[in-house]
Amino acid sequence: MAMTGQDRAVVPAVAVEGITKHFPGVLANDDISLTFNPGEIHVLLGENGAGKSTLIAILAGMQQPDAGRIRLAEKTVRLTSPRESLAHGIGTVFQHVLLVPSLTVIENLMLGGPWRRRLDRASALARFGELSRILAVSLDPDALVGRLSLGEQQQVEIIRALWQGGRVLILDEPTSMLTPAGVRELGQVMRRLRDQGVAIIFITHKLKEAYEFGDRISVLRLGRTVGEITKARLAAMSEQQATDEVIHLMFGPSATGQTVDAETMAHEGQRRRRATAVDRGQSPFLTVHGLSTTAQPGESALRDVTFEVWPGEILGIAGVDGNGQKQLAEALAGQRPAASGVVALRNTQITHLNVAARRRLGLRYITDERVGEGIVATHSLATNLVLKEIGRAPFWWRGITRWDNIHAHAREKIATHDIRTPSEHTPIGRLSGGNIQKALLARELSTQTGVVIFNKPTYGLDLHNIRTARAAILRGAKAGLATILISTELDELVELCDRIGVMYQGRLSGIVENVEGAEIQIGLMMTGAAAA
């Protein structure tokens, strides 16, 4: 890693010139030119579909541009494979973790080597130690990756991205799965690397982070670069000024603070839900008492979880990923047996009922693993919309499928939930993440009374779909649904919830009213430092 430090005529670490990339029906990148300097954190902002992912894919060697060139330290290079990209010192950390969970940290790092050579553990450990020092992180090289927290897994990914030199580090929405503390830690890591002369390309859709971490901001819209805030200007701007300018760039000249998208973005996490009239005098809709589960090694089992949810109320569950939230959702939905404890809907004990029976009683679960378990990707949208109704009227008659009814039902849902799809026959796996989530919301929110569990409902969605999902949650609560909202995004919980509890190592460590200043207490509870 070269030390630069000074601001004299810097040689860009990597530059793209006139990059254009077509996909059938879409111009993903339209003549994009950008330079990324060593020793700078360069933020790329843009809505989903703005062309960020395509540009990254090109730099990572996964896609070839139709036109334009990539210059690396003033030499034109062709990056025809991820391997080549890595060899040139361009490392990418993608949004979703791409590690082998059943291998150890050091094994994951050694995976990239040539097949014909023996694994050289000693030199790998030396390199690991070197990079750990630079990043100031402490990871056990022999820990199984599957047992690490998402933040730690991300650190492993960063080490892997820097493994072969590390001139350029691309981080694709790296904060989307981190806690506030994790985000701070990542910021420190990025700054250290910057000071070492690494060019960092930081993709995000959060303006706060862009301002906090970025030295320079470029905004993409519809495949083009629509503006840049240079290092000198950014340093002179206040956060409000920078936010205004970015929103202006992202949503066009007339948009400042006006369109809903701009509003969602600018005010993200700053609006608190108005206190709602939840009548806790009547009996709660969902009662959970002393619920415990058993877990595989590496997972957090539920331990003695007790809470209640009233109709019309949104109960937030905060916490660092992997502290038992998934187990809680699954135990409530009936996908995971309870080892002990009681779950009751109104006055009906449902502890030992299966998924289908609970669903019939009005309990709905919107999973965080939309593609992993929420849908059957190869089957049609129409089929997926009735996935939890198989065998039931009016879609089946004595076990015989009535495809006409299923397709009519799908057409209706497509219209009412604004699902963008070529047709109801399209395999659902071909739809975008936002549209898949709309389909899941359409499938689960067809009830008027009951309990709905949302597990990270906005994870990985773009602004527009985040807004759609949040609106659906609020609408449901307003209609009287008892809602449980599991999220790792504190901002989201503060915006939507009436009360917020924190999961830590399988325990629900406290439920607080969502009032001014609740974040601080919640933040402490997330690390297990304080109990309510």
Partner: protein, 355 residues
């Protein structure tokens, strides 16, 4: 393997054409390369293929032999479609088939002395289906309870099944009146009735009906859709509240039961007896056909016909021309290679256009 097009999904004419192309291209390529090999053996490929077509398809005796041969293959295909669509690799069909055949061969000659012919056949078929299903019980239990890979367990059950079948024929079921160990023979007039004036037995009809029923079951019923969902994404099945382990048992039982029926049909329709060491090993021959047909019940009939023509025509053609009899297997192997190749290229093309 790519997932099959499911029922209720209308594909455009273009997509249909592309599918037909994807299916026919490997066949054409396999025949072409096969021709080159025949040339290299110093024989005339056109004569060879001509013989195959004549003996397997165009002569009256040939076509009857071909259709008769289709019966067990179709039953196995039906069993495999159920399993594969449900994401279960039942590769133990040979054991299930053979045991059901042996039990049928032992049971039928005894039964025929006790009950009327039609009842004997009915009972035999039911028992054979049960025997087939029973032989899949251990893999089903291991899969449902402990997640043990059924490829291994079903293959191992086949080894055991073949051994057990031989033991049964040589010891308890042995017909003492014959010199070679074999079961008692069912008289020709007691076997499955022939169709019209041909040598084709009515088991073929049962087999075709079975394949079509399986197709309807998988595409038009709740049960079929449940099986497909377990197969396509077991976690989604759990999420949707399906009882995955019960469906796993049902899949195994249905699949192996159909295969067992195939064994009974082959014995009741063609042989009337089973000799020791008889093992047609149809199972692994049918697997590629089922995939060629993309697990589609109607399409598989065409592929089984094609294969049966190759088998029955190929045997006599080989004898006439002095080409090794196993050349048919070479053709099947070529077919598989080109199938995989075309599939791969098609997948790449789609990746490139989608992305």
């Amino acid at each position: 393997m790519t997932a099959p097009a499911q029922g209720g999904v209308k594909s455009s004419a273009g997509a249909r054409l592309a599918t037909a192309f994807r299916v026919l291209l490997p066949i054409v390529l396999a025949l072409l390369v096969g021709a080159v090999i025949i040339l290299a053996l110093g024989k005339d490929p056109l004569t060879y293929y001509g013989y195959v077509a004549r003996r397997g398809l165009l002569s009256p005796i040939g076509i009857q032999a071909t259709i008769t041969r289709m019966a067990p293959l179709l039953m196995i295909a039906a069993g495999l479609i159920v399993a594969f669509r449900a994401g279960i690799w039942n590769l133990g069909v040979d054991g299930q088939f053979l045991l059901a055949a042996v039990v049928t061969a032992a049971l039928a000659p005894v039964l025929v002395t006790l009950v009327p012919g039609w009842l004997m056949i009915l009972i035999s078929l039911v028992v054979a289906a049960l025997v087939g299903a029973a032989w899949s019980l251990i893999p089903a239990f291991l899969k449902a309870r402990y997640g043990v890979n059924e490829i291994i367990t079903t293959l191992m059950m086949t080894f055991l099944g073949i051994g057990l079948a031989n033991v049964l024929i040589k010891l308890p079921f042995n017909d003492p009146n014959t010199t070679v160990p074999q079961t008692a023979t069912l008289a020709v007039e007691d076997r499955l009735p022939r169709l019209f004036d041909t040598t084709i037995h009515s088991g073929v009809v049962i087999a075709i009906v079975a394949v079509l029923l399986v197709h309807l079951l998988m595409t038009r019923t709740a049960f079929g859709l449940k099986l497909q969902i377990v197969g396509a994404n077991p976690r989604a099945a759990v999420h949707a509240g399906l009882n995955v382990s019960r469906l796993t048992f049902a899949t195994f039982a249905l699949s192996a039961g159909l295969v067992g029926l195939g064994g009974a049909i082959e014995v009741l329709g063609v042989w009337g007896t089973v000799r020791a060491d008889w093992n047609p090993a149809f199972g692994l021959l049918v697997v590629p056909l089922v995939f060629l047909a993309r697990l589609h019940g109607v399409a598989v009939i065409g592929f089984v016909l094609f294969f049966a023509v190759l088998m029955s025509g190929g045997e006599s053609a080989s004898r006439r021309l002095g080409v090794p009899t196993d050349f048919v297997l070479v053709l099947v192997a070529l077919l598989l290679i080109f199938l995989a190749l075309v599939e791969f290229l098609d997948h790449r093309r789609r990746q490139a256009t989608k992305a």
